[in-house]
């Protein structure tokens, strides 16, 4: 796999922008259009904010982002943390048809990741959570 980017910052909200800017830059260099870059950035934000909020349960820790191309020329955005083992993909989908009063606040982040990415994979490797956002290159969008 060809590694395009490696960034490691503390798992704090103030590092959201440095992460997403680096990921967007990487997607731009791979020739994705503006719309797809925005979708990649959104999926990355959702995954990162989830980790910032929950992975270290109030303790300090780091997040590492690795962007790479796999042998099928797909863009893989791998997001690693050493927090509590958590597969965000195991969560159920929100009811997107409920009205204002019934609609639950939250749960939309992971839903958006699933909708916008071509594939999403989770693995627990040793002491790390590894979430991969996968984007096909041959077409502009899903």
């Amino acid at each position: 796999m060809q590694v395009l980017l490696k960034k490691r910052y503390p798992a704090r909200l103030e590092y959201l922008q440095p992460f997403t800017e680096a990921i967007s830059h990487c997607a731009k260099e791979q020739g994705f259009d503006k719309k797809r870059i925005s979708e990649i950035e959104l999926a990355a934000e959702e995954a990162l904010v989830n980790i910032f909020n929950y992975a270290y349960q109030g303790n300090e820790g780091d997040v590492e982002v690795i962007c790479k191309l796999d042998p099928q020329d797909r863009l893989i955005i791998e997001i690693l943390d050493s927090g509590v083992p958590f597969d965000m993909l195991s969560l159920g989908e929100p009811d997107t048809t409920a009205d204002i009063s019934e609609r639950k606040v939250g749960g939309l982040g992971i839903f958006l990741i699933r909708k916008l990415m071509d594939d999403v994979q989770y693995q627990h490797e040793g002491t790390k959570n590894a979430l991969s956002l996968i984007v096909n290159k041959d077409k502009g969008k899903k």
Binding site: L16, K35, L42, A98, D99, I100, V105
Partner: protein, 110 residues
């Protein structure tokens, strides 16, 4: 993100520009919540200048809409475009909120 508010009769017209993400969404929520606590009930949120919204922004919008509905108020939207419109559609926000193409059209309906 920049927020500006002006009054059109009994409607607070809130224009939001820039990016509504996990960093900036709490500011939107705080602003509108304060207006509600001052007695404002009707809000038209103009998102024509909003370039990006994440689930944190949607969450803040939903919190405000729930709060407003509980106080017999209303929150409607205008000017959605590009990624913001797409995210509203995917999330089902298009069917739970009244959304108008322009501020003028929205003001006639509220």
């Amino acid at each position: 993100m920049e927020i500006s508010v002006r009054k059109e009769k009994n409607v607070s017209v809130v224009s939001v520009t820039g990016r509504m993400d996990a960093v900036t969404a709490p500011e939107f929520e705080k602003n509108l919540s304060e207006l509600m606590s001052k007695g404002e009930k009707k809000f038209l949120v103009n998102l024509a200048g909003l370039e990006y919204i994440s689930s944190a922004g949607l969450r803040s919008i939903l919190v405000i809409a729930k709060q407003s509905k509980a106080g017999q108020g209303e929150v409607i939207f205008s000017g959605l475009r590009g990624p913001v419109e797409e995210v509203f559609k995917i999330s089902g926000f298009h069917s739970i909120f009244k959304i108008f193409e322009s501020e003028e059209m929205a003001l006639k309906q509220i």
